[in-house]
């Protein structure tokens, strides 16, 4: 116990020191800069308020992005140029082809499934009584880290030789209905689908909650009018509800696409990218921190950057449109 305190007290001390230092420095700057008056007051205030954020953005995002692009044309140690060699490797290496194929699979299947199921649940919730408990329970996995969720599902997929007592739920069910369970995470391409289940489990609640808020925003009189005209069930959904939540649906879908493209934690925790399950972000990590090849790793990062770009250009455009309508 005293050991524990001896090793951990300094950490807590550094926590409080850092916080105190941060606020004291800020307070001093505020007081000193506040003394300025007249014509200088405004530019000084602007400087004080804006500079920290701009410096962080410059040092943390803008310059590193430039350097990563530069590194992607360099050798593993980033001390000599190799032209397009790293990109040629991406285009031709059969291992990378699997990675790109998996990433494409993730980017297409998971967002569609997650958003569609979220929408279905949102519609069903709207038609039932006492929705708050189911909503909370389905939404809850969203608070669980991908690492935690991966451990949960790795346990669900745990495998023992056929005929033995199974401790993984999936294996137990498969054995109970008379089939031999397999070592799930080793079977291609089933393993990638099983990893997707983890993503779907954590993210469906998110899609559901956001779409549910949109559905509740559909005016009741519009629904009543269509119902009086004889629209029911599917027809009511297709003709009235869906068109009114379409924008939200697209936003959720785009969010899921970006999350699937950047996906790292699930693959890292469950298979480490082995057995043909690797994806772009995981491969990038392996190249940099396992193979120590900053060139190939950076080229993969640039690929990731390029693939999310269209979605964000769309986002920026809609933001501009929204603002000009104000």
């Amino acid at each position: 116990m005293s050991d524990f305190i001896a090793t951990n007290l300094p950490k807590v001390t550094s926590l409080f020191t850092a916080m105190a230092a941060f606020f004291i420095i800020l307070a001093v700057i505020f007081v000193v800069a506040g003394l300025a008056n007249g014509k200088k007051a405004r530019p000084i205030a602007l400087l004080v308020f804006l500079t920290p954020a701009l410096l962080l953005l410059l040092a943390g995002l803008v310059i590193p992005t430039g350097r990563t692009i530069l590194f992607s044309f360099m050798n593993p140690n980033s001390d000599g140029f190799v032209g397009f060699e790293n990109y040629a490797w991406i285009a031709t290496d059969p291992g990378v082809r699997t990675v790109l194929f998996n990433t494409a699979l993730w980017t297409i299947l998971t967002p569609l499934f997650t958003t569609a199921l979220g929408l279905y649940l949102a519609v069903m919730l709207d038609r039932m009584r006492g929705e708050s408990i189911p909503k909370s329970l389905i939404f809850m996995p969203m608070a669980i880290s991908f690492v935690g969720a991966s451990i949960i599902f790795k346990f669900m997929y745990e495998y023992r030789d056929p005929g033995e007592a199974q401790i993984g739920l999936l294996s137990a069910i498969v054995q109970a209905i008379g089939f031999g369970p397999s070592n799930w995470l080793l079977v291609k391409p089933l393993n990638t689908l099983l990893l997707m289940v983890v993503f779907i489990w954590t993210q469906t609640g998110f899609a559901m909650v956001i779409l549910s808020a949109a559905i509740k925003g559909v005016p009741a009189d519009v629904l009543e009018a269509s119902a009086l005209d004889g629209a029911t069930g599917w027809k009511l959904f297709r003709g009235v509800t869906f068109p009114m939540v379409r924008t939200t649906f697209v936003v959720v879908l785009a969010t899921m696409v970006v999350a699937s493209l950047k996906l790292f934690d699930i693959v890292r925790t469950m298979t480490g990218g082995n057995f043909g399950t690797s994806v772009l972000a995981n491969e990038m990590y392996s190249q940099i921190f396992v193979q120590f090849d900053a060139g190939k790793g950076s080229a993969l990062a640039v690929m990731l950057f390029l693939s999310v770009t269209p979605i964000f250009i769309y986002n920026i455009r809609s933001l501009k449109r929204e603002r000009s309508n104000k």
Binding site: P52, A143, A213, D221, K262, G297, K320
Partner: protein, 307 residues
Amino acid sequence: MSSRGLSQANPAKKLFASKWATVIVWFITLLWFIPSLSLLVTSFRSKDDVFNTGWWTAFGNPSFTLDSYRSVFFGDNGGGVSDGVLPYFVNSIVITLPATIFPVVIATMAAYALAWIRFKGSDTVFYIIFALQIVPLQMALVPLLKLFTGGASIGSFQFFPALGIAGDFAGIWLPHTMFSMPLAIYLLHNFVSSLPREIMEAAVVDGANHFRIFRSIVLPLSIPGIASFAIFQFLWVWNDLLVALTFSSGLDNVAPINAKIASLVGQYGSSWETLTAGAFVTISVPLIVFFSLQKYFVRGLLAGSVK
């Protein structure tokens, strides 16, 4: 997109209520709850029970123990996690609090400047910051790590010194603060810019300068917006793996619990009783935040769904 509470019902629409919807939703809810239940149950079973029988048999033959939690918290003398995960839990707290509070303060300041100290081009700066969300954090990892360890130089000219904070908590606070900026400024700008103009103008008439306005008007009135973003950022940092692995890899004195648990999966892949207990400790904090602050959590998610 309007942000509403979790359980706001529209009475008129309950006209369409159907029994089938109730059955289907409860079925899916049950399905969704089984994984969490398996984690919880397994973490309270003995090593032998977990190894020999499925967790669902615990319902017919209940026998529970706190052994796994004891070994996860305080370590044990063989098998499991040698010194327990409690030090990593402390690391997580030491990482997460500043990595939440620093961005909140710095981003609120920037948001105030962009919204209320208008200057030529302040809209452009805002759009550029928003657009920076486009950069996946993967793009910044390697250069940032190099910056922390070796500084930055052009040829032999060192224009930025090595910060010497690699392997230090500051080396994790800083990347989290940097990466959170675009989203934080965007969200808080939305909030700060919608504060009533009359209050601001009245304060100026009273002779308050920008620093006073920021402290006594902007911060207090922005609490709901700040809370939404802070919860989002707190959970993001607590649950993060990539930044943690990159900036604390192999460093037990700073690694957060999430990264530690992830590494245990590789080392103790079959000690499910320990892994499940460790995982439950890891996710307990986000779950507490989730259940106690659900309203703010949803609001933050609605607004921050692009990260």
